[in-house]
């Protein structure tokens, strides 16, 4: 995959490293010449110096053939302009913008630009860590058509000690990952559930409640 990243600082540096490690081809656009030189020295990426919301710079960086554009500058207005140019002018199939003001997340979606807010993500992570509740909604995926939920198996859980293949889970639900003693494991049919396990459950909204009930034994 050809990924075009606009922005700077450590987030971009480490993102580049992650994408490169996965075998993707990465180009970075950065306004700061010093940083461009540094990045070109330290990483196997193509670096273009300039304003990423300038059509000519995007073109020079190969926006025409890019599979994805990631705009993560500290300015929401630049990230919006970059993503709109990428999708409207260069037909890039995926353009994603960072929003610094979490309120802009919904607005960008309305304008047809996929957006994410690190502030919101971090805030929800912190809430999760401190939540007393046993059930945490992690993220709604696919525009809310899929729920990803984390559930801790309570002491009186009807499924504790059972193997996955013996569970009466409703259709359209899946136990994707079990977190046990700080380790994440992807379960198989013969994996037994234990009290205290944290289960990452994937469900469709239609039987989300039923699936939770099957695991916790409570009405939800």
């Amino acid at each position: 995959m050809k990924v075009l990243i606009v922005g700077g600082g450590k987030p971009v540096y480490f993102l580049c490293r992650t994408f490169l490690a996965k075998g993707h081809e990465v180009t970075v656009i950065n306004r700061d010449q010093q940083e461009c030189v540094q990045m070109a020295r330290r990483l196997k990426v193509t670096v273009v110096h300039g304003d990423g919301s300038d059509q000519r710079i995007l073109e020079e960086a190969g926006a025409h053939g890019a599979d994805a554009v990631l705009a993560i500058t500290p300015n929401d207005q630049d990230n919006l302009a970059i993503c709109q140019l990428a999708s409207l002018q260069f037909q890039v199939p995926r353009a994603v913008a960072l929003v610094n003001d979490p309120d802009n997340e919904a607005v960008f979606q309305k304008l047809g630009v996929a957006a994410f807010s690190t502030t919101r993500t971090i805030a929800s992570l912190i809430e999760q860590r401190t939540a007393l509740d046993e059930i945490t909604n992690l993220i709604p995926a696919a525009e809310g058509k899929v729920n990803i939920t984390e559930v801790r198996l309570p002491a009186d859980s009807p499924v504790a000690g059972k193997s996955l293949r013996d569970l009466a889970l409703p259709a359209h639900s899946l136990i994707a990952v079990i977190l046990r003693n700080g380790q994440a494991l992807v379960p198989r049919g013969d994996t037994q559930l234990q009290v205290g396990d944290r289960i990452v459950l994937i469900t469709l909204p239609v039987n989300h409640g039923q699936a939770l009930k099957a695991i916790t034994g409570e009405e939800s």
């Binding site: 919301s53 919006l80 140019l85 003001d101 802009n104 607005v107």
Partner: protein, 144 residues
């Protein structure tokens, strides 16, 4: 222009303050937004509208300026991307019926026209005026 419009002007530099002063004098309700308080010094003594200090790319600042009630939003900052974002947000999130953006880079116009954003490019406008003026001079010379 119809009387008593409610107009939000983003940016209180030379262009923004000039527009705000004129529109206020003409009897319209005006709110000016600028992130630098010093910029409000550009407003004339007759300016009777409101001032909001803040970054217009923050949704809360636009709410504070009552953009949801605006008949018109004019974005005049030095930054094209700010102007384009603010006008799009005004339309999409606050249902403002008419928006105008100052956009310096002429090549951007077609894309934003497609997105329903009316833009004015000072460079193109100035170039047109220069050319018109030159043509007028030449025809004077020709007729002489």
């Amino acid at each position: 222009m119809a009387s008593n419009l409610f107009i939000v002007v983003v940016g209180c530099g030379r262009l923004g303050s000039h527009l705000a002063n004129r529109l206020s004098r003409a009897g319209h309700g005006v709110v000016v937004i600028d992130r630098d308080e010093q910029a409000f010094r550009n407003l004339s003594a007759e300016y009777s509208g409101f001032r909001v200090e803040g970054d217009a790319t923050e949704l809360a600042v636009l709410k504070q300026a009552k953009v949801d009630q605006a008949d018109l939003v004019i974005a005049t900052t030095r930054d094209d991307n700010v102007n384009l974002m603010v006008t799009q947000v005004a339309r999409a999130a606050f249902s403002v019926s008419r928006v105008l953006a100052r956009v310096f880079e002429p090549t951007r116009k077609p894309i934003y026209r497609r997105l329903g954003i009316e833009s004015i490019c000072p460079t193109s406008v100035a170039a047109e005026l220069f050319l018109e003026s030159m043509a007028a001079t030449r025809s004077l010379e020709d007729s002489a």
